[in-house]
Each structure stands twice: as C-alpha cells, then as structure tokens.
Amino acid sequence: MSPEELRDLYQSVILDHSRKPRNHGEIPPPCLHAHGDNPSCGDEIDVWVKLDDQNHIADIKFTGQGCAISQASASMMTVKVKGQSTAAAAAMREDFRRVVMGDGKPQDEDALGELTLLEGVQKFPQRVKCAMLGWRALEQALEAPAR
C-alpha cells in the first residue's frame, strides 16, 4: 500500500461523509430497522427505513460508530437509495459489492454515482466488510418485520 493508495481510500468526499454523515438519526416507528455490526472490529450501523406503498424507500436514516469507511459508506448509501425501489436498492448493493471487491464491472455504474469513489477499498481487502456494513444492515432491514 502506498500513501497514494491510502489517499485513494480516504478521498475527501469519503472523509466529508464520515465527518458529516448525511441522513444521520433515527426514524420513529412504524418503520423497518436493522442493526449491523462487525464484531471482529466493533463497527456498528443501525439503519431505519420507511417504505411507501409502491415499495420505494421513502425515507432512510442511520446511526453508528466505527471507522471512516464504514460510516462514510453508510452515509453515501442513504443518499443514493432514498427514493429508489427496494429492487433497485438490491441491484445497487450488488453493484457496489463488485466495486469494493474488484469483482467485475458493475451493471449500472451511473446509478452508483459517487459510491464508486470507494473503489479504493479494493486494495484493502480487510476493509471490504467495513464498506459493506451499512448495505448489509439495509438488506436486513428490508427483510425485517415492520414495527
């Protein structure tokens, strides 16, 4: 890892999200919620989702603590999936996984937008689970019973 690759990992957009997370907070019930954590490193993300009647993500918020990558990735995710259908969000998650794992081209790179800035994670395999933590929580929230 060179300092350049490190700076790629921590691009200013990413640091900005980690310092000033967007959509930060909780949504009061009724909503969908899930807690995600990486027990091995202690990173935590809680995701709250409100769906409209067409299964679109009407609102999404998150809280959490952990490294810049996990928190920024979650923040950037909330921005991108808000207003999307749950199907589109799932497709985006799979595309995002490809980007951070360097596992082939994403199907719809444009949809990912600035999320592609996290491709620096490819060079830091042990950080993949940090980048995916918010997405894993979102996936679980969408499968969770409403409360």
Binding site: S2, G42, C67, Q71, F124, R127
Partner: protein
C-alpha cells in the same frame, strides 16, 4: 546493553513493509522470534524429533530429555518450587480454562464468589462466566478507576469470606496498568482464597517469581515472549494441583486403565493428556534462555523507557488521549483514543508507513465500555523496539491527525 544490536537477532525485523522499514509495535498481541528460537525448532526437527515418554530409542530419549529440560527451565524462570508445578498448555487461555474446569469443578459451589477485575482480557473473563454458570458460583469484578488502576477500596469490600478465587491480570493489555498482585494475593490468601495471576503481559517483560507474588496459579503464553506459537505455561502450586481432578483425558495422563475406569498420574502429567507440543516447549526454553541472557531487569528497564518516551511523544499530539496510568511504572505499551479518527483508520494509515499496530477492543470489551470508547489504538513494545521507532510513530500519527481532521 546495546539494544540496537538486539534487533539483529530477529530476522523478521530486517524487512520493508510498503516501502518502509518495518516498525513492529504489536508485541502485546504476539512477539517476534530471535534466530536462536527458530534454530532450536529446526535443530529439533532435523535431529531429535520423536514422541516423548516411555522412551527407549535414541531419538525418543533425546526428545524426552529436551522436553523435560524445558520444564525445568520454565520452573527456574518462574522460581517455582518444582518443575512438577509446570504444566504445558497452548497458551494463557488454555491455562485459565484448565483452572476454571479442573479446579473450578472441585472447588466452586453456589454461594461462592469468583473475584476478578473490570480490566480482564476475555480469556480471563469468559472461562469464569462459564464456570459460574456450571457451578452456581457468582462472578464479581473489582472496578477500574479513571486513571486505569483498580479501585482498591472496592477490592477490600469485595474481598469477603465467600471469595474462593481471586483471578486477576498482572499487566493490563489494554491499559498498561501494573496491578499490585503481590499485595492482592496476600490479602486474598489471608481469607483462604485461591489466587490466579494472568501473566500474559508480564512474563518475559519483567522479572517474575511465583514465590514472590505468592499466587497459587499463574499462566502465560509462549508466543508473547519470543517463543513459538502453540505453547504456553500454567504454573500451579503443588498442594493445589495434587488435589485437582483431571480435565482432558487421554494418553500419558493415566496410570492404569481398564475399559470402565482409570487412575491418574500425579501432576503435571495428570493435566497433559495426549502428545504435547514438544518442539514448542523446546522453543520456549530457548526463548527463556535468550531473554535471561539479556536479563529480565534490563528488559524491564528498556520497556519502561520506551513506554515513558511514548507517553511523552504521543501525549503531545492534539486530540490524542492515552488510557491508563500516566506516571509511575507501567507495562511497555500505550493504548490511545484519537478524536480525529477511528482506531482502524489510524492502524491502516500507520501500516502504509510500515508501522504495525493493533486497533480495536483488544479482547477487553467491558473495559472499552467502561472508558466509553469503541476501541483504542495500541502501540506495544518489546526488547527489539527503539525510541527512534516511537519518534517515527509520533510523526505518522501527526500526519494522520492533519489528514483526518
């Protein structure tokens, strides 16, 4: 002592990581190995390897001699009364589990108290939680004060006649605190309690004597004191060991066996079922010989000097807060929280400059909660580290601060 020369004994230190000379500051997790230890392993496998015990052929006799000589080396290292008080384990964790099971099952009952502290490694916490569940005993914890030392007033109050066991860490792997184990064991013994000291971070770092500490049990891991992975030691006072039932059953721990029952050997054999890590024990003896040749007091001084230097250098970085005692003796490590970045970001940053540190809860989750941090970054030192490396760490942390702030 020419500490710079010591570095030449460690082949692994002669490498670059990410284009920078490796600065290894993760010895509290696992130490590096001097050439003499690696050679002891090679020598064993190339010349003497065979199974030990009931040995009548030449290789087996050599292996047995080496293995039992290692036991004597460890006994001397700990000032144990006899080599029969030395049980070889995989490491500290197995040692604690052995006591919690073999001693625990015979000595703990509902109403009894296991007294421990709020700064234990999970390996000296979870086995007691499990033992408490099994036996109905209650597990209590001496609180940790803000300065990272134990609340000794609370200790006095918690130390009631119901306390059957005091289990405490000698040097905290997350704070660097050195606990007054001698005084605490003496007080516990005066009330009839059995005592265990987790010496994972003190063995090999400061002179250690079970006679002086006065504990009944003490455990450490070879891999943290320049020895191979897979070998560790549980010391047990013979009067206590003798009355303990076995834990693992199998070959070498029995006297006679029928299909229905068996009788057990005396300690330490009773607690060493199966083929032991013969090469590991021989490697551990080589590591002890190496450390003793340098001198444990010298190593202690060097470690304290590094810790003091780190306290000073890192302590002056803005937004960086060091946990644990700020003055007086401490273990050779500093654990800190940075308000500008998460431990994993710090560790990642440092790694890019060839510096190896660990970030996270260090297997002390309750302690992290206690200090309201999600985890810390820890720089831990050993005999091969230098103040120059700490200066470099301070520079890199300063650059991280600038970058992440």
């Amino acid at each position: 002592m020419d500490w710079q020369r010591i570095r030449d004994d460690f082949p692994i230190l002669q490498q670059e990581v990410n284009g920078h000379p490796l600065i290894y500051l993760d010895s509290a997790a696992s130490s590096q190995k001097p050439r003499s230890v690696i050679q002891a392993l090679t020598h064993y496998y190339e010349r003497d390897n065979a199974n030990v015990h009931r040995a009548l052929h030449a290789l087996s006799m050599r292996a047995t001699d080496g293995f039992e000589a290692a036991r004597r080396t460890v006994a001397r290292f700990l000032s144990a009364a006899s080599e029969n008080e030395i049980i070889f384990t995989r490491g500290t964790t197995e040692g604690v589990n052995l006591i919690a099971n073999a001693w625990g099952s015979a000595n703990l009952k509902p109403g009894d108290v296991i007294l421990s502290t709020g700064m234990e490694h999970h390996s000296d916490l979870v086995p007691w939680q499990l033992a408490a569940q099994r036996t109905g005993a209650t597990l209590k914890h001496i609180p940790v004060l803000d300065d990272g030392t134990l609340d000794m007033e609370a200790f006095e109050k918690l130390l009631t006649p119901e306390v059957k066991l005091l289990a405490l860490v000698h040097i905290s792997n997350s704070l660097g605190t050195i606990n007054p184990v001698r005084e605490m064991c003496a007080k516990a013994k005066a009330l009839g309690a059995t005592t265990f000291v987790d010496a994972a971070q003190s063995a090999g770092h400061i002179p250690l004597s079970v006679e002086d500490i006065g504990c009944d049990f003490l455990a450490f891991s070879g891999h943290k004191i320049c020895a191979p992975t897979g070998i560790g030691v549980l010391y047990g006072r013979m009067a206590v060991l003798e009355n303990m039932p076995p834990w693992h059953g199998g070959g070498e721990m029995i006297l006679t066996v029928t299909l229905d029952s068996c009788t057990y050997k005396a300690p330490p054999a009773r607690f060493e079922a199966g083929t032991p890590d013969i090469a590991g024990a021989i490697g551990l003896a080589a590591a002890i010989d190496y450390l003793e040749a340098i001198g444990l007091s010298n190593i202690e001084q060097h470690g304290l000097q590094l810790a003091s230097h780190a306290l000073e250098k890192l302590g002056s970085i803005e937004g960086l807060r060091i946990l644990g005692p700020k003055t007086g003796p401490r273990g050779s490590l500093v654990s800190f929280h940075c308000d500008f970045a998460h431990p994993h970001d710090i560790v990642e940053w440092a790694n890019t400059y060839g510096i190896a540190m660990r970030g996270g809860h260090h297997c002390t989750q309750p302690l992290m909660k206690r200090f309201k941090v999600p985890g810390t970054t820890r720089a831990s030192f050993y005999l091969y580290n230098t103040t120059h490396e700490i200066d470099r760490l301070a520079e890199v942390l300063e650059s991280a601060r600038k970058f992440f702030s």
